[in-house]
Amino acid sequence: MTPDLSVSIGPISLGRPAMLASGILGISMEVFNRIYRNGAGAVVSKSLSKEPWEGYANPTIVGIKGGYLNAVGLSNPGAPYFAEMIKPNKDVPIIVSLVGSIEDEFEFMVKQFENCNVTAYELNLSCPHVEKVGLEVGDDPKLVTKIVSRVKSVAKAPVIGKVGLGTTNYLDTVKAAIDGGADAITAINTIRAMGIDVETQRPILSHKIGGLSGPAIKPVAVRCVYEIASKYDIPVIGCGGISSWEDALEFIFAGASAVQVGSAVGDRWIDVFSEINDGIANYMKKKGYSKMSEMVGLAKRF
């Protein structure tokens, strides 16, 4: 019997457990198609704003020990353009990531997708390097509740809140998102970080401070998933440093219903999705599991 790799994240059902994380190769429908064919359970778009954004000057993404440092500055073609692009899509489960400062912006953006096939919306409450959006929103639990409930009131698809480590307790942000009616939580975004080049004595990123991603943040992300899943009754999507099936399972055991893969694409290319699928299927066979849900949160029993 081949194990069933499909997952349910509250109201969201996907055929495979690992999605493409937001901001990774996330602006073209053809690329989404390719990544889905290569084994991703869904693709999360680049975070979209009301208007197109150019982002920061390069260097915006560099490798460092243990992962990557980025401050792309949320460059994106804007929600209206993106909605137009995905209109023809039928097959690929697309999770639309949105970023903004106030409820009205989010409502405007969601309305663009009325005639699109959207699997869910993921609200970026956690980008650590752009002012007035992302983490600055996530750090304001009252605003989070307002935004989530507004999006819930206009969106036909489920709504996910994506959290990260900011200046308030991220568990309060989770609570605020739950209060607003969120269907699931993605944890975590990159962690605010910086690299300085010793020769030039300059910050490497043009924006100076950016976000750390990749293997370096995995143990922190696993901890967050474990804490959220232990404290609240809401499905969690694990994200942060996943680059193998073992990593993916670590998040599942911590309490994640599904996972997202970002930086690992830069190390293992898009083969990473089928590697994760195959590895998990083998593990399930060996250990005698038939469904993914049997494994969610198993570490909590110890």
């Binding site: 901001g23 990774i24 190769l25 996330g26 602006i27 073209s28 053809e30 690329v31 198609n33 390719r34 680049k46 197109p52 954004w53 150019e54 982002g55 000057a57 390069n58 260097p59 915006t60 993404i61 560099v62 490798g63 460092i64 990557y68 980025n70 792309v72 460059s75 994106n76 073609p77 804007g78 353009y81 690299g195 080049d197 020769e199 030039t200 300059r202 490497i204 043009s206 970002g262 930086s263 694409v265 830069g266 290319w269």
Partner: protein
């Protein structure tokens, strides 16, 4: 295995060579970049300004690499204005490489697009009969003629400079000169790098004659390593799946020769 760096390392500019009034070559020491494959590029950090993708120019001395830069917008001009002793950061090499076929090959380049083609020339097999076509507007924009002859000294070869105004070499667009040549010469493979409209014509020509063809493309690049998606064209990432693509793939591309993405990711026409 090639050693690939994802973190910028600082290099000192050791020498600056004026190629034309708007093109300069900057020489550095970098064992890693000295031996990149033809078509591969590096991300070049101009501290305080920007980081740009740049093909790696052939330098005869062991362990040396170079970038040949045309002064265009703010960033390339800042790079162009650097002096010997200044610092730049480099990371790479990234991307795939040209496949070098046997027999008669043509390298068709415009401007700094010649950089990867000269590296290809350096990797040419002894049996390759190499024709290099270099396009430019006028005489004072012609460069790398000597470098090409030097690199190909042990091969049967010809270097043909084409100027649009006829002030030097053959008169006309490099694509027209290629078309004429291809009527009499049976090329086994054509390689091209330069302005996309030029490459598009070269690929069309080669495809129509059933000649193997590869082009090295440019797109907006941020990461250079297949993470950010800013360089995507159709379903490929030019930085990771390319920059070199076959004529067959390019013939089916909806974007090649027509559109490219702006910094926001919006498609714009060429």
């Amino acid at each position: 295995m090639q050693s690939v760096s994802k973190t910028p390392s600082i290099r000192i500019i050791e020498k600056v060579i004026d190629e034309t009034p708007t093109v300069r070559t900057f020489v550095i020491s970098d064992a890693n970049l000295a031996d990149v494959l033809p078509g591969q590029f590096a991300m070049v950090w101009i501290p305080g300004v920007n980081e740009l993708p740049m093909s790696v120019m052939v330098i005869p001395e062991k362990g040396k690499a170079a970038f040949t830069v045309r002064k265009r917008g703010v960033s390339s001009t800042a790079l162009y204005d650097l002096k010997a002793g200044d610092q730049i950061g480099v990371r790479g090499p990234y991307g795939n490489a040209f496949d070098i076929k046997d027999g008669k090959i043509a390298l068709v380049g415009g401007g700094t697009g010649l950089v990867p083609l000269l590296r290809l020339a350096k990797f040419a097999k002894p049996t390759n009969d190499v024709t290099i076509l270099m396009g430019s507007k006028s005489k004072d924009e012609v460069f790398f003629e000597d470098a090409a002859n030097q690199i190909l000294q042990n091969n049967k070869h010809q270097v043909i400079a084409c100027t649009e105004d006829g002030s030097y070499g053959e008169k006309g667009f490099v694509t027209d000169v290629l078309a004429k040549l291809a009527q009499t010469t049976k090329f086994d493979a054509i390689y091209t790098c330069g302005p996309e409209i030029m490459m598009h014509k070269v690929v069309q020509l080669a495809n129509s004659k059933g000649i193997f063809v590869q082009a090295s493309l440019e797109r907006m690049m941020k990461c250079g390593i297949g993470i950010c998606g800013s360089c995507c064209m159709d379903e490929v990432m030019v930085c990771h799946d390319g920059t070199v693509f076959d004529g067959e793939f390019l013939a089916n591309s909806k974007e090649f020769g027509h559109t490219h993405r702006a910094k926001s990711g919006i498609l714009e026409n060429y």
